[in-house]
């Protein structure tokens, strides 16, 4: 099935137009002949266009990350005296239908632009959480109330100071949005109190010691109170918006009055290019300087080219590649069968074949490379003999795996998975599904015994909150033991950072041994650029150039 239904739909619409148009032209033979001659070309073009959009909406910061980092982190100190000036041209996926409304946009380009125009309360920079517009974000003793204090001297591009009212309005926008409503559900914004211009007190609906990482760390862009003129955004960030055209790009210029560390580059030019191969072409022909997100095959093609560089980010920018076994459905309601699957797969073979070697091995837990990851658990090694014994003892000789290319490679990985299971004496039938509508039928996703899946690599706290436990809205493995639920609630309410990290590691150990999540790899995000662009960081998996300079 895969994308065929979509193709059929596209072709169907094209055909509907074509058929009706044919009836319009009453001029006999020659026109019919021409119609037929041109039709194959038209339908071929429509059907061949699979969706880079779906593929790439992935690294968007919707799925930002959390971890458990110091709640009072401060801005990273940057060395002084870097070459100032210059223009950087960055290509990323953008759509003509996108917007610069932080609560509504889905475009990677738009997110990156927003992070440069607007400051956030908290940024997730690499694996760290860094306070930006907030001087401090502190909980009370039992994490039922948080106090946000803003930095002094921050001003919007129109000269107005940034105040607590702006923060309350901005967080309210996010809380009301479909994309972030879920993560802001614990925050009782209606009950918040503006103490003074720089101080906001927000009560929680349930104790949340991890508010900074799990909620603000996902997205906390601040816009002026009451602002709605998206496309002419006014922020307080290091760059000002000069112009924005959805699908085409955005032009940003340095904010000379920036309250924080002054940015070095004069101009950032964002260019919308939908196709990853085209982004790489544009980089090769010198039309851009930085291509955000290229394919592993594309990266391999420029390996020997000294005029270009590739950058791999394996922390918060990477994808979790895995299979999800539903613990509530046979045969995976038997823990031995789950264990057998984990032992039978050849993770390195999957990485080499499906990801062209571009991946780090997974150990059946999320969040590798991020705070709270449990490094002390030994890596699961392949053991086909034990797996075969476990399958035989459980009487399992076949099951079905559902797979759709939600990101490229899921179907391939499922097929290779089937071959590997065959070596352990189990026949796996791969049932391909349509990627565009995969999540439309929620009931099917939740009742499928086994499916290929990907996740953005978020910090453990955020991942577990959404994807595990009885409160997880997308817990498709059904892992929700009372011990795990209690442990998760306890971890979320823990105010002390070190204690919370310790509890996170314990929860990950439970996931590793008991959950139906089989993580075989972490696939890094690959970006490419010309040489000499220094100090680019990744914010919520978007490239961030506020402290970048050209060498």
């Amino acid at each position: 099935m895969k994308i065929y239904r979509k193709r059929i739909a596209c072709v169907g619409i094209a055909a509907a137009i074509a058929v009706l148009l044919a009836s319009c032209s009453s001029d006999g033979d020659s026109s019919t002949e021409t119609q037929e001659s041109l039709a194959p070309s038209a339908s071929a073009t429509v059907s061949a266009s699979s969706s880079p959009t779906a593929e790439e909406a992935v690294p968007s910061p919707t799925a930002a990350d959390i971890a458990t980092a110091p709640a009072t982190a401060t801005a990273v100190a940057e060395p002084a005296a870097v070459p100032a000036g210059g223009t950087l041209r960055i290509a990323a996926l953008s759509s003509p239908a996108d917007t610069l409304n932080p609560a509504a946009t889905t475009g990677p380009l738009e997110y990156s632009v927003l992070f440069h125009i607007h400051d956030s309360l908290v940024l997730q920079k690499g694996g760290e959480f860094v306070l930006q517009l907030a001087e401090s974000i502190e909980p009370n003793a039992d994490a039922t109330e948080w106090t946000i204090t803003l930095v002094e001297g921050a001003r919007f591009h129109d000269g107005r100071p940034v105040t607590a009212a702006d923060v309350a309005y901005s967080l309210g926008l996010l809380a009301a949005s479909p994309n972030f409503g879920q993560s802001y559900a614990a925050v009782n914004l209606e009950g918040s109190t503006i103490v003074d211009d720089r101080t906001l007190i927000i009560p929680m609906r349930a104790p949340r010691g991890d508010l900074l990482e799990a909620v603000f760390g996902q997205l906390s862009l601040i816009v002026p109170d009451g602002f709605t003129d998206w496309g002419n955004n006014i922020g307080s960030g290091p760059y000002k918006l000069v112009s924005f055209e959805p699908g085409v790009g955005a032009l940003l210029e340095r904010n000379p009055d920036y309250w924080g560390d002054p940015p070095a580059l004069d101009t950032l030019e964002f260019v919308g290019i939908a196709d990853p191969a085209t982004r790489l072409n544009a980089l090769r022909s010198g039309d851009i300087d930085y291509a955000w997100n290229i394919s592993a095959a594309g990266a391999a093609s420029i390996e020997g080219d000294s005029s270009l560089e590739t950058h791999r980010d394996s922390g918060g920018g990477s994808l979790i590649r895995g299979f999800v076994l539903n613990l509530n459905t046979p045969p995976f309601d038997n823990p031995d069968v789950v264990r057998a699957v984990k032992l039978a797969i050849d993770r390195w073979a999957l990485i080499d074949v499906v990801l062209l070697g571009n991946g780090e091995i997974g150990n059946d837990m999320p969040s590798k490379g991020l705070p709270g990851y449990n490094d002390s658990i030994p890596q699961v090694e392949r053991d086909v003999d034990t797996a075969r014994e476990l399958f035989t003892a459980a009487g399992v000789d076949s099951f079905t795996m559902r797979a759709a290319d939600l990101v490229p490679g899921i179907v391939d990985s499922s097929e290779l998975f089937a071959q590997q299971m065959a070596e352990a004496g189990v026949t796996v039938t791969v049932e391909e599904a349509d990627a565009a509508t995969y999540f439309n039928d929620f009931a099917a996703v939740f009742s499928t015994p086994a499916q290929g899946m990907y996740y953005i690599n978020r910090s453990a706290g955020v991942h577990m909150g959404s994807f595990s436990g009885s409160q997880g809205t997308f817990n498709i493995s059904g892992y929700a033991t009372p011990e795990f639920d209690a442990g998760l609630a306890d971890m979320q309410a823990t105010v002390n950072v070190d204690e919370r990290l310790q509890k996170t590691e314990e929860l990950l150990a439970m996931i590793h041994y008991e959950d139906g999540l089989v993580v075989w790899a972490f696939e890094p995000q690959i970006n490419a650029s010309i040489p000499g662009i220094e100090r680019v960081s990744l914010i919520q998996s978007s490239p961030y150039f506020a402290s970048a300079y050209l060498n």
């Binding site: 619409i13 137009i17 021409t34 001659s37 061949a48 290019i273 509508t437």
Partner: protein
Amino acid sequence: MPIILRLLSRLAISLALLLAVSIAVFASVEILPGDPATTILGRNASPDRVEALREQLGLESSPVVRYWDWLKSMAQGDLGLQATGNRSVWSTVSTPLRNTAILAVVAFATTSLAAVGGGLIAGRRPGNRADRALSIGTLSIVAMPEFVIAGLLISLFAFRLDWVSSVSLVPLGGTPLDTPSTLILPVATITLVAGSYGLRLVRALVAEASSQPFVEAARLAGVRETTVLRRHLLPSVAAPTAQVLAFSVPYLIGGTVIVEQVFAYPGLGSLLVEQIERRDVTVVEAIAMIMTTTVIAGFLIADLLGVLTTRHTPRSSSRPSAALP
């Protein structure tokens, strides 16, 4: 029938056709699995959240009611708001439309030139060396997928020779005409594809006309070849050729998705595909209406040309294929 009456009846038919297309397109998007709410929510699409968002986006009412609302605002010249947000459809569609129009106009000119010029050269003396070369050349191009042609052009002209850019980036706030060189490769690709189709069809028309008795008679009478071409061949193939060219319009307006993707050209074709994926029926309808109107207009013009040419050159037929035994 007087031309004016014929034109009026055609206009009436065209309006009915637009209506029929709009219903077909609306229904097609409706029967696709999923809707804007589920595509926006993705993995967050738990049933209660889907319901809440549907309500927010006004998707609760029946498709008939929504179609009727759309039709009413359309009749007043209002394309409405995007189904997936509260942005106006016109603001989403206008820039890609302009870009596609620019590409289409330029490509139409070059395609016509290639199709007519090549068709005349090849069809004038069927079987000669030029004919065989052009026929084999166009057949090879027609057999090649567009992205291969585009890829070959890029690797040759952008990477190897470094004459032009590999992408057609439109400057912010500007138009593709601000950097005309970026149009070269997309136009070349489209011309090769559509021009090859057109050339083959025009060649067939010219070859047929070339063997007509009145053309042969003129040649036997010692009339100069350029005169034969101008006075006899060209008029007799003008109308069907215009139709051939008119038939390339749907391709130029909507079929250039691959070309747009390969060259990152921000046009209407990629927008259409993307919006079908997002199930945004109002944007899809707007694009479908624009494309259909353009195509109908193309056919009307072709028909009109046919009528006019037939009246002024009574000796020849506007349908050479029908005149053959």
